[in-house]
């Protein structure tokens, strides 16, 4: 097994044995099951409530977990000095970061698949099919988690865990509003404010491009081109963030 695979599997093992991961996974399960209770008391159609609640629950829990994992691991490794015995091995720091990221993405993938399976069972119990839009929304959520994790790694490669978590959470919220920020800038009277708004728009990830949950809830068709472009944009953004984290991390002293 090469160093990258060893680090990836170790990251997965770490997350699996972490109480926070188990707590979030348990909470997500409860949230998914609760959506069946809400379906009975809602005036909307049962399928819409199940899909809306189910996908939102998955998104919320996994976003929290992605931020927690990506922003806490490097800081904890440095603070507890576990990193001394890892980066002194014949492993490049880039491999270390990428292995860590891959470990997180493996954890998130396993949890997302487990949640998707429960979601599918719920739909089946109520007699609804698993539609293509649901699958796209779940896959796009995974891509969104990758973007968010890459931002978390970029931050934690030079900042502490608390600052990194706050900034990454801020990027998540602002990333879903970046379209509004752009429109706000366009309608502003001042050229300076317009420039600032455009700058923020281009700097932040446009996470709304990866939000296909409304399409799933309201059964809106998703164009392949739109999906493809969104995924390409997300891969490019995550690639830039990971490159920055490798760059910052490679220059860092571990005192």
């Amino acid at each position: 097994m090469n160093a990258f695979a060893a680090l990836t599997l170790n990251g997965f093992r770490e997350a699996r044995r972490n109480r926070v991961t188990l707590l979030i996974a348990g909470f997500a399960l409860v949230l998914l099951l609760c959506s069946t209770l809400l379906a009975d008391v809602s005036i909307a159609s049962i399928e819409r409530v199940l899909v809306d609640m189910g996908l939102s629950g998955m998104s919320l829990m996994l976003v929290v977990l992605a931020i927690f994992l990506s922003t806490s691991q490097l800081g904890r490794e440095i603070e507890r000095r576990t990193i001394f015995m890892i980066v002194s091995k014949p492993v490049s720091r880039a491999t270390f970061i990428l292995g860590r990221m891959a470990g997180n993405m493996l954890t998130l993938a396993v949890l997302l698949l487990a949640m998707a399976a429960i979601f599918w069972v719920e739909l089946a119990l109520f007699g609804y099919p698993m539609r293509a839009q649901y699958g796209v929304a779940i896959a796009a959520l995974y891509v969104e988690l990758a973007v968010l994790s890459s931002v978390g790694f970029a931050m934690s490669s030079f900042a502490g865990p608390i600052v990194s978590a706050m900034v990454t959470a801020g990027v998540y919220l602002a990333g879903h509003l970046s379209g509004d920020i752009y429109r706000l800038g366009e309608s502003a009277q001042s050229a300076f404010l317009t420039a600032i708004a455009k700058g923020v728009y281009y700097l932040l990830p446009n996470l709304d491009r990866l939000n296909f949950r409304p399409h799933a809830t309201y059964l809106i068709d998703i164009s392949g081109a739109d999906l493809g472009l969104s995924v390409l944009y997300a891969i490019a953004y995550a690639g830039i963030m990971l490159s920055l984290s490798v760059l910052f991390f490679a220059r860092r002293d571990f005192k």
Binding site: M1, N2, A3, A6, L7, N10, R13, E14, R17, N18, R80, R81, T82, F84, M85, I86, V87, S88, K89, P90, V91, S92, R251, D253, F254, K255
Partner: protein, 327 residues
């Protein structure tokens, strides 16, 4: 005409290496941790690094292990830069107060170490069992590290350093946290590794360990190399002293004698006097002439601890930990 053979590749070579840390929110405070350090460690040597707190020992080791980057100078690890992963393939490192992943079992952690050290996959299981046995952890290797005592953590960390069968072992305070049995085992492991031809760089505050194990020693004070040489050679630079126990005369009478001792202690109504070997005969004669009795006479060997204290004191060390703040 015969061609001159190329010089041997040294496991460790520091040429005029300096390190300045920048601290504070604006990184405006500078701390000079190392000042133009020159160091060469040859193949098969056990090389000890000694120095008070903040002398730069750990910084030296961290630069070598690619954990910290030198501000100036050149560092070579088996002829390559420490940032070269291939050079680090030949090194096993035990950091001070090691902190392995506590969610892993001892065996899992050492296996991870072997995988990262690029040990052949087919031989990993056998090698992991072998090193766990060497460090005395074979029986408890299945427990999670969070359940280990400090000494057990130190042993598992040593196992991960050994697992890649390194040509160079870098040990930072290897006996810290170990009981007397563990310290003896650690010494035996170090000596066994030397027999295997492994070069060892180790840094400790326990001077008897350096004296017992090392071929060469370097003393660092405030980031500067102030003494370096073979341990035996350094210990013979100063003649052994003599310790004399005296009864029948007081401190004032002793102070009035022509030969002044190096140290005097008053214990239980008698004086314990330390004097250089050359002055001992003259002092004994004067004590007897002054009415005193010599009740005990013992040769005192000059120890590495004495040398260390001499060197540290003459380097003007003041007991404040950390490097020198330069700005």
């Amino acid at each position: 005409m015969t061609e001159a053979s190329p010089p041997p590749i040294l496991p460790i070579e520091f040429k005029a290496v300096s390190k300045q840390y920048r601290l504070g929110f604006w990184l405006s405070k500078k701390v000079q941790a190392l000042k133009s350090l020159d160091l060469r460690v040859e193949q098969g040597q056990i090389f000890g690094l000694l120095g008070p707190n903040g002398a730069g020992k750990s910084t030296t080791i961290k630069i070598l292990m690619n954990l910290v980057q030198a501000s100036a100078g050149e560092v070579r690890l088996f002829g390559a830069s420490p940032s070269d992963a291939k050079a680090r393939r030949q090194v096993g490192y035990l950091p001070e107060n090691p902190a392995p992943y506590d969610y892993l079992t001892g065996r899992e952690f050492v296996t991870l170490g072997a995988q990262l050290a690029q040990f052949p996959a087919k031989e990993i299981k056998k090698r992991v069992d072998e090193v766990l046995d060497v460090v005395g952890m074979a029986r408890t290797a299945g427990l999670q590290i969070r359940r280990y005592s400090k000494g057990m953590v130190q042993r598992v960390a040593l196992a991960q350093a050994l697992v890649g069968a390194p040509k160079l072992l870098v040990l930072d305070e290897p006996t810290s946290g170990l009981d007397p049995v563990g310290r003896r085992q650690m010494r035996d492991i170090i000596l066994h590794e030397r027999e295997r031809g492994t070069t060892i760089l180790f840094c400790t505050h326990i001077i008897p360990d350096i004296e017992a194990l090392c071929d060469r020693v370097a003393v660092l004070v405030s980031g500067k190399l102030v003494q370096e040489g073979g341990v035996r050679e350094l210990l013979t630079t100063k003649a052994p002293g003599v310790e004399i126990a005296i009864e029948g005369i007081g401190r004032e009478a002793l102070d009035a004698l022509k030969v002044s001792p190096e140290a005097v202690h008053e214990i239980g109504g008698r004086l314990l006097v330390r004097v250089s070997g050359a002055d001992s005969n003259a002092l004994i004669g004067q004590i007897i002439a002054a009415g005193g009795r010599v009740t005990q006479l013992q040769q005192v060997r000059f120890s590495l601890e004495d040398l260390f204290m001499d060197v540290v004191n003459s380097a003007g060390y003041t007991a404040s930990a950390g490097g020198e703040i330069v700005g």
